[in-house]
Symmetry: C2
Subunit: 568 residues, 2 copies
């Protein structure tokens, strides 16, 4: 039995002092509760992912100095601390230091470095190999980092072959829909093969486009979840963990590993902790919504802002974003801005006003007609004799961005932008217009999901927080008389699945047509997706909730003539 | 002796049909001139870098089909063709196919996959190992790809150990200042160790932020350059290359490699080709300028545009960008837009008009006062009682972006943005204002270099193409009365070296202070550089000319509290 303190903390990239302070507080709490070891997430000292901060040779040295402060604070209760560690040739390792009794007892280095999706670990790190086990309070503990536990025959299996009685796995595992089941599958497979219990510690909190969901886990040697930390919240979860293998189906490769003494058993065996049943998982829509709220809060506050503003059109996207912002920051920190034009419907203003009332947020009305008129006059000589088109529509959207940015600049607010993933996919937005802003809470949410989340939020509130008419009316940009999204785009019921197949499924036009999709629809959507790359490249970061968001997940060339028309 | 056709082509990512067409024409030319082998750049079929197009399983299949067309066109003259090739488990290789007599004779796979700087090859590719030599017209040829030749003891040395008499190295090696010398150093080192001559074929042309400079090379077994293709231009260079090792200082590891028969010697020994001396290298400023011109032309034309517009302030940045655009596209395709405000100096308009005259480009004047007045009126209720500050300044810059984008949208132009690297480094720009645009020709040029390039362009012209007063006056954004850059920033003579040390040298504040720099200056610049990350993230691609441009080269978190103050 080992008393483990799972320190599921919300840390910040580059905030070495702040991270150490939070870790010291958690260590004190675990120590106070009789813990044998406090376990922190992957790269806890630096925050995750530090990206090219790692290119500064000084950065790893500063992390090392920060580690010394944590090591100095340890006593019998050990601490397993993730941080970047420089090797002798200046190469870097994604490492975990095991500290106790005021010193660093040893270091384990991540063996499997993900370099796909949002991960670039081979850009920065060299791979380690399992080197030792750590004797913590009488248990032989194998320390592993994130990907190490995903690989059949990989580092974790070598640790168990080497004699580990418990695997401690440090993670910075980003959220996406379905991720918890994916993780449970991996952990159960590893336990099925090794018979070794696992303590899985995850980071929590937002970092640019990534959100770490926490939900740290303990699984026993039979693969059952015996403890689970909260979703989307910090927690220091202290649990008694049975150590020792029970079976295991795989023939494990790897010799016995040396053992590094770390800490003694407690002088007095403590009374067992009461067992609290694992928290129940959230409903799918609630899980996604909670992810958006935390990611938005963290982006705003970790970047030193307190308040945000949102342009409110009376449509569902901006209504949902304002609601997320209110739930993230509180109503007094959210400023709605209503910017009607000559083409705005009456309900665009009245619905936005009702939303502001429902949310308890400020609603400020700044009509854009003066600037709209002025630009028409300024552009008239150039545009004489030419029919109105997208150029005139985009001017209106850009005027609104000028207004929002002026308010943000003047009052120190951060602009939230309201585009969804369907719009981002097909470029149905105005660059430097409605796409302008510092953060995009729903940029990874398809339009049909936007409605789902809005309806679910109303259901949770037990009231039409987002007015019913907002959910009922046909989507429109209102940039010309009687405009509808459906004038320019296929209906979202057709658009979303096709765009999703291109973006998240990496399908080509030819493949989708061969699979029976409407050729005209597929060609049209495929072309729109490809051509919008230049707009997405200039978009702000948004919250990643799928396995493939725009941004780090999907690195497409802008200059790109591939049409993917071959069908065979 | 092998007659080699170096096909230094300007290919386009994803343009499989277009690339094949160009390659077939070059192959015909090499065949016609008695060549034994035509050699194409790395990933020629797909273009380089295809980035996440490689995530579409269909893409490599389409490249394979494109290769078949080239293979079918070969006769005795072989073709060495770079393309992505799928392995049996679905993994991808960065490969070179050797074709002759209508078929693919064999494939070699890149062994060393760069995953640093602008490169993400481990994201997409698995590593190969040298497998065979190719008997082409009687010579044992070792085929290698780019990085393979950079590594001591790596794939190229294994090929020579295995019996290669000539190394053919396919490249997509991006330009940066000093790159030619770096390449020559690597090639000479490899030849010094192996004694084996090298044919180094490089791609040419722009691809988003990357520019490939061509300058393909032939080095003999003594390390002397015997042929060099043009810089920044396509060329099919047919040369007679001596094959066979001569010495070599290293003990090479690796057994004899199997040999794949490809093609016969010519029936009749051709008369030797006249030897033309290698082209002389360009002057440093001319080299950089030529890079900017080609990259700008390729970005515009490969994305299907013909015309560009540039906002002209009468300052040196916009003047240089307009000149680059004129040299890239011709004067009739460049549209200067003069957008004075109440704060613009008289010379801002007259200098810009003179520039337009000198360049022979259109200069269109659209004063921004109507919109400026309108926004003041619209924002007055919100801004009552508050002192004017950056908010009001940014409004003017954003009005200009609205005008430029309206013209671009209406006439199908592409907006070039005019920010330099000094501004990008410290965030001295208005997001959605002067930073708005599709492409940034000088975003990797420090302000002091902007002056150098402008002066040199005038010297080459033998006239003040860029008016003398533009070069003489103090830099100003002209967003308030009598504004100067030096009101907000240290003089560029102080700013540039410090910002460069942070950005290109990966130094920290603490290190620079410890090295004796002015602490106040260093802290101020360091803070500005860090805080501007969110602006850079939304900037357009620009031309990379240093070893570390903003963008792919430098992937910094936005949310980042690292200040790098430690000094020891």
């Amino acid at each position: 039995m080992l008393r483990v303190g799972i320190c599921q903390l919300n840390l910040t990239v580059g905030d070495l002092d702040g991270n150490v302070e939070r870790m010291l507080a958690a260590l004190a709490e675990v120590t106070e509760r009789g813990g044998d070891v406090a376990v922190f997430p992957e790269l806890a000292v630096s925050g995750y992912p530090p990206e090219d901060l790692l290119a500064k040779p000084r950065f790893a040295l500063d992390c090392q100095a920060a580690l010394e402060k944590i090591a100095a604070a340890t006593g019998r209760c050990a601490a397993v601390v993730g941080l970047p560690v420089a090797g002798e040739g200046g190469e870097l390792f994604n490492a975990a230091a095991v500290c106790a009794n005021g010193a660093v007892a040893g270091v384990e280095r991540k063996a499997h470095l993900p370099n796909y999706g949002v991960f670039d670990e081979q850009r920065h790190f060299s791979a380690g190999t399992p080197e030792a086990l750590f004797d913590i309070a009488g248990a032989a503990v194998g320390i592993s980092i994130c990907e190490d536990i995903w690989i059949d025959g990989g580092a974790v299996e070598q640790l168990v072959a080497g004699g580990a009685e418990l695997i401690v796995n440090l993670n910075a595992s980003p959220y996406n829909i379905g991720k918890l089941d994916e993780r449970l599958g991996v952990l159960r497979r590893r336990i099925e093969r090794t018979g070794c219990p696992v303590v899985y510690v995850n980071l929590v909190g937002g970092q640019d486009e990534l959100l770490f969901d926490g939900r740290s886990l303990v699984l026993d040697a039979g693969g059952s979840v015996t403890a689970r930390a909260q979703a989307f919240a910090e927690e220091v979860l202290v649990v008694d963990v049975e150590v020792g293998r029970r079976g295991g189906s795989a023939t494990l490769d790897g010799g016995a590993l040396p053992r590094i003494p770390v800490s003694d058993r407690p002088a007095v065996t403590p009374a067992p902790l009461p067992v609290t049943p694992p928290a129940a998982p959230l409903e799918p829509s609630d899980e996604i919504y909670a992810a958006l709220v935390l990611a938005t809060r963290d982006y705003v506050t970790k970047n030193g802002f307190t308040d945000v503003c949102v342009g409110l059109s009376g449509g569902v996207d901006s209504s949902l974003v304002a609601t997320i912002a209110r739930d993230a920051l509180g109503p007094e920190r959210v400023h709605g801005v209503l910017m009607p034009s000559r083409y705005s419907s009456d309900h665009s203003v009245s619905d936005a006003e009702l939303l502001c009332d429902n949310l308890g947020i400020e609603g400020r009305l700044i009509g854009i007609e003066p600037a709209h008129d002025a630009f028409e006059q300024m552009l008239a000589p150039a545009f004489t004799g030419l029919a109105p088109d997208l150029a005139e529509e985009n001017v209106q959207s850009r005027i609104r961005a000028v207004v929002l940015m002026a308010l943000a600049n003047k009052f120190g607010w951060l602009v939230l932008t309201t585009g969804n993933k369907s719009e981002a996919a097909v470029g149905y937005s105005t660059l430097y217009g409605d796409s302008a802003g510092a953060f995009a809470p729903i940029s990874d949410i398809w339009k049909l999901q936007v409605y789902e989340l809005a309806r679910r939020r109303n259901a949770v509130a037990g009231a039409a927080l987002i007015p019913e008419r907002v959910l009922a009316k046909a989507p429109s940009a209102e940039l010309r008389p009687d405009q509808r999204d459906s004038d320019s785009l296929p209906p979202y019921e057709s658009l979303d699945p096709v765009a999703r197949a291109f973006v998240e499924g990496d399908k080509t036009v030819g493949e989708l047509i061969a699979a029976g999709a409407d050729p005209e629809l597929v060609r049209r959507v495929g072309r729109l997706v490809d051509v919008a790359e230049y707009k997405r490249r200039q978009g702000p970061p948004g919250v990643r909730v799928t396995h493939k968001a725009f941004g780090k997940d999907r690195r497409m060339p802008i200059t790109n003539r591939y049409r993917g028309e071959a069908r065979d």
